[in-house]
Symmetry: C2
Subunit: 243 residues, 2 copies
DNA sequence: CGTTCAGTTGAAAGGCATCAATTTAGGTGG
DNA sequence: CCACCTAAATTGATGCCTTTCAACTGAACG
């Protein structure tokens, strides 16, 4: 029973951080990266399915997701987190778990607040992240409210593909996607069985397939059609700050 | 056919603003209210159902709501806005409309950004608002994903009641609520008919009633039970900034 | 080679949408 | 103050989408 070897990279020096261009601290000029290191209180590595206790962190490698449960135990996934995302475990009872093996930098909330207090650009970067989260949630709300199972699935696949594309984690025809069908179901408000059927339909129709952790987009036009996709970007540009 | 008289109050001087304690500018000390006035580019009054074109404003009186439509025309209401709320019309195609007659202060985005650039506390106040929006959306997502019609309705009624309570716009047993059943339906991802049936059930069971623009909470314990209500506040306290 | 988890598939039941009317509530003009 | 008109609220019947319950398959693993 040898422990599974650990292939997940750990975050190193902030100055050479590979995800910083997509992360909260993207606005901090190279000359001041030293200040970032002082906000980082720890570096951590977790295994898939482990729940994360830290309240504020930026994901470095791997995926995570936020979720809640109903009194009857059913789960609702609120959001998926990708490398570079700032994740906050809020006080409202939502939990955060690793979807894959993952590593991240824990931030000290008070020192982060200090930093934002000194650097309005950073505060605005923080706000941008919140704003993006919000529009993603709005899209999902629309999905759950007004789309059927296939539409929801198509929409989520497009959203994730887009997010990965922007970070260089995907090409036009597909991307690695470590989600189980249970994750899709819980994110889309469906039963696992029905999520499976919707996925099977997309596959049979030659629209898209998700197998062995990889998404293949076979007919993007049709996928967008099924999703009722608005060409508008899911992560729109937001307020820009002058400092 | 005389025009309906206008009873909606218009915002006046920022220094005496009645909603400021709940609004973005709550963090600006009285001594500096002058700076707020420079961010306000206009004061506006709209009639119920009118759509609002301004991109950033803080609602002063009346209700508003954000919404989108699917290609087939069905509407999804994304959020309701109450007096004091900062509202942004985002670039993602969502629209904002007045739910009742309403008045608001239009803000100049660039001057607002300037202000936030100078005042980190204000930037954090902005972020807090975003964060609250986000947790509200998360709650709603959970509703649409995992609650049945009655549960969704119960949850939304409790959410709105709570928001009103915090602003002094409600008492423990009820509150004025200007929503039509169609608004409830479109917010909850239901048909109007089914929203009606759910509402009728709550009324028949003596749990809550919504009539003539007023919500009455008759049995809060039961309403919370139906909603799967977590005692956690819907608008939790967030990061605090030191300036 | 047994176990377990993810993925599939089928059948039956249920919740919600849809379609169709009807009633009620407000607002308007006479 | 009443008749009238339109939007909102109701109620009923029918059908579809999704859930639920029950197996069953396949792959990974010890």
């Amino acid at each position: 029973m040898s422990a599974k070897p650990n292939l997940t990279p750990l975050p190193g020096a902030c100055s050479a951080c590979t995800v910083r261009p997509f992360a909260l601290f993207r606005v901090v000029p190279q000359a001041r990266v030293g200040e970032i290191a002082r906000v980082r209180s720890a570096v951590r590595l977790v295994r898939a399915n482990e729940t994360i206790r830290d309240t504020v962190f930026t994901l470095y490698a791997g995926w995570a997701f936020s979720w809640t449960t109903m009194p009857d135990g059913r789960r609702q996934i609120l959001d998926f987190h990708l490398p570079g995302d700032l994740v906050e475990r809020s006080e409202d009872g939502a939990e955060v778990s690793a979807l894959t093996d993952a590593s991240f930098c824990v931030l000290a909330r008070d020192r982060l607040c200090d930093f934002m207090g000194r650097d309005p650009g950073l505060a605005m970067s923080y706000a941008e992240g919140l704003s993006r989260d919000r529009s993603r949630l709005r899209e999902r709300l629309t999905s759950l409210g007004r789309r059927d199972a296939v539409g929801r699935l198509a929409h989520l696949l497009l959203e994730l593909h887009g997010r990965l594309l922007r970070r260089g984690g995907a090409d036009r025809t597909g991307a690695p996607l470590p989600l189980k069908q249970a994750h899709l179901a819980d994110a889309l408000g469906l039963s696992v069985e029905h999520a499976n059927r919707a996925l099977a339909l997309l596959r049979r129709q030659g629209v898209a397939s998700l197998q062995k952790g990889r998404l293949e987009i076979l007919d993007r036009a049709e996928l967008e059609e099924l999703a009722g996709w608005s060409s508008a970007p899911a992560e729109p540009p937001l307020v820009t700050v002058k400092v």
